[in-house]
Amino acid sequence: MKLQVGRNELLSALQAVIGVVERRQTLPVLSNFLLETKDDELIVTGTDLEIELESRARVQNIAPGRITVPARKLFDICRGLPEGAEIQLESTADKATLKSGRSRYSLACLKADEYPAMGQVADGRSLTLKHGQLKAIFERTQFAMAQQDVRYYLNGMLLEITANRVRTVATDGHRLAMSEVTLETGFKEATQIIVPRKAIIELLRVLEAGDEEVTLKIAAGQLQADLDVVRLTTKLIDGRFPDYERVIPESGDKRLQANRELVKRALGRTAILSNEKFRGVRLQLENSKLVLQTHNPEHEEAEEDLEVNYDGGALEIGFNVNYLLDALGALTSEEFVMELKNADSSGLVYALDDPSSKYVVMPMRL
């Protein structure tokens, strides 16, 4: 293999893929990138056996080839080269040589045949939507995914596709986030898949806000997302996601409406003096008034008194303040609504003018 490529071009291709390469590896080849030339493109592949990322860079292909090189080293070298530099990459049997100006690097290669590439996802159903749409529903729910939970099916995001709607749901068992976008999907029957946490995080790194198209291809146990320059293939989590619709409360009779930014900031301040471990905040509601209270084992206390729209009668309820902050932070509207029933029942948070994202937060007995 021999090729010529601009440093910036190569770096952005490597950057898109490097995230999936784990720093610690038991299988040496997994710390390598697979580099492959095809016409005037270099295809860079990284994998952790669960997720595979593939990106492309436009190159001058002098001699085609297929090699693997140490991922992080190549990435760090590229990043360290001056902006706009020209790079020449050439491989011999077990070495890859990188030259740029007066710099020369020789990297050890491993056999490309041994690289565990997942390849193309064969016949599955496809769905095309805009970058911005997918990014939005991911961003609004991603924070509620569980992390290393024993209930492995919570360590990911539910993607539900029906005829005219794409919905994401994430929960860690204590709160739930749901967001949806309306569109003709061409799916006749509802389809549910659970996408691993890491795949969502990687996708969020490469998704942009614009109108470019993303194609999702769903096949048995796999999802492939094609984003023009990047392609992500991931295994799906095989498990049953909780029946989330049962968890979303019917509208509660106690309805609070308030300025989102105002409440968010007040919660952010009171959170400072909440118990570090439990993060409990007490909400006291009575006519047109919301009082936030926290205290910690050092006997420090915070209290915020806010004017809100509420006439549901006196209610006192405790929450993990982080859960409320996450939900309010994911919304973008000016005003938000929170529906409550009683101190033992969940709260439902959504934007005043837009019910496409919903947040269910379970209370905490303090």
Binding site: G173, H174, V247, K277, G280, M362, M364
Partner: protein, 604 residues
Amino acid sequence: MAIRILPDQLINQIKAGEVVERPSAVVKELVENSLDAGATRVEIEVEQGGLNLIRIRDNGSGIPREELPVALQRHATSKIQNMDDLERVGSLGFRGEALPSILSVSRLTLTSRVADASHGWQVSGAGAYENEEPKPAAHAVGTTVEACDLFYNTPARRKFMKAESTEFRHISQFINRIALCRFDAGFTLKHNQRRTLDLAPADSEPEREARVAQICGDDFVRNAIRIDEQRMGLSLQGWVGLPSFARTQADLQYLYVNGRAVRDKLLGHALRRAFADAMHSTHYPAFVLYLELDPVGVDVNVHPQKTEVRFRESARVHDFLFGAVHQLLRRQRPEPEQHHHAHFAESATNMSVQQPMRYATPSYSSPSYSSSGYSSQNFSARESASSVESLWAASNATTPSLQESAAEYPLGHALAQLHGVYILAQNNTGLILVDAHAAHERVLYEQFKQQLTHGGIPSQALLVPEQISLDEEAADALESRHEELRRYGLELDRAGPASIIVRAVPPLLAGQDIATLLRELSSDEDRRTNTTHLGEVLDAQHRIMADMACKAAIKANRRLTLPEMDGLLRDMERTELSGQCNHGRPTWVQVDMAELDRLFLRGR
């Protein structure tokens, strides 16, 4: 058969069955007589485990010639005269039945001389006293009792005797037991002409410590804390082994009530509870403890061998003993100089540069209730109470300075993590090794407990209640503890005969495997015995938290950053009992520079 009064000798033999069932009991009675007579030297000589010969010689006050025959008679004593005396008895003996009992089952010779007599006198008998006149005998002031051929006339009993070595072990254990409490007397013990023990009277503090070390071992002394507590007419003194010095047998437990060694269920329970937090239930604490109270508050006349007592206010005594030891253990904070020394080298002894028992703050200055100097507990009243206070004050004063100077953190600063298990840290004296899981477990446990007492543990409701199937008994057990569990933030309901539904969990356990946790909690149930004392209710709760803490603590192979490790070290310094995990294993050890130097043969 007609009803008839039994002959005297038979009565005595029946009594002997209770009082002197084996050679060590004979030794006990005779040594106690010597101590009651104010002896400062007691020589014990036995042959063939005591079955052939038991000879006790003392330098006590002796018995006048005319009282010698009386001493061998049933119900003859010089120690009490009326009910009042019995109620406040301070001597070890008071029933006047030991000598006649021993006589009834052996060939006994009693030789004695009082101070103003020119020579001694002797009486003897085999099985019974034949009312012979005392014969003159050469003897220094004091008494010698010789009992030969024990149980020669009760073959059934003699058959029950164990091997010679076993019988001797019992004797030697008794001597240890009494010597630990009677520092005022010296003891020698000979078996088959061989001397096995030689203890001089221990009049000074170092001498007493040396005696404790000789009997309980140097290790005990190194790992023990002195205790001295007085409250409401009760006093507790002695040595308490650190929980990390736990034993697999109850072989280092010496408890005395008013100078009398006792085995008492109530007191045993109080001590077990005091250690429960810090020690695995299969281990036994080590202690040498002297409990003193007004004799009127304790009835010693309840057991033939006087090894049990009855307290008038048993709950108060229980709580005092529990509280004193419990508090003492909880006051301990990391003090690398003191304990937790790693023993690398073959010669563990020369490694401890520290003064043994440097904690030695208490003095034995409490008023002793024992009358007429019968108890040894009034030793060393000269260590004044004020010196005690200043020592404590000094040690307390060091605590705030921990925060001031980073260099003086007792557990130092983390350097690295070893194989995902141990934290290596450096402090002023050298290297500290911490078992991260064990330490974190203890820190969490103490946190759980604190939160429980300060306003409770919050409970995070679950979005989807988790149904857990277990066997019916386990479900029963959990359901019955439903309220208790709620206080730790776990809310559950019975969902069916063999399933439980979890509705809320403590936030600290979010994302943990609640199902496994509950199964383990409920399966342990059968191990938990029902104890009547109320404190047990709280202990049961602590056990749940200990279990929770163990399961929630960082597992091996979790990579820790330096700030995380430092955080844990600081937490440990702040945490009570942080020196042991909940199972009593040490959480950290100190390796001094000197010890490291020795490893590398430096400075030799």
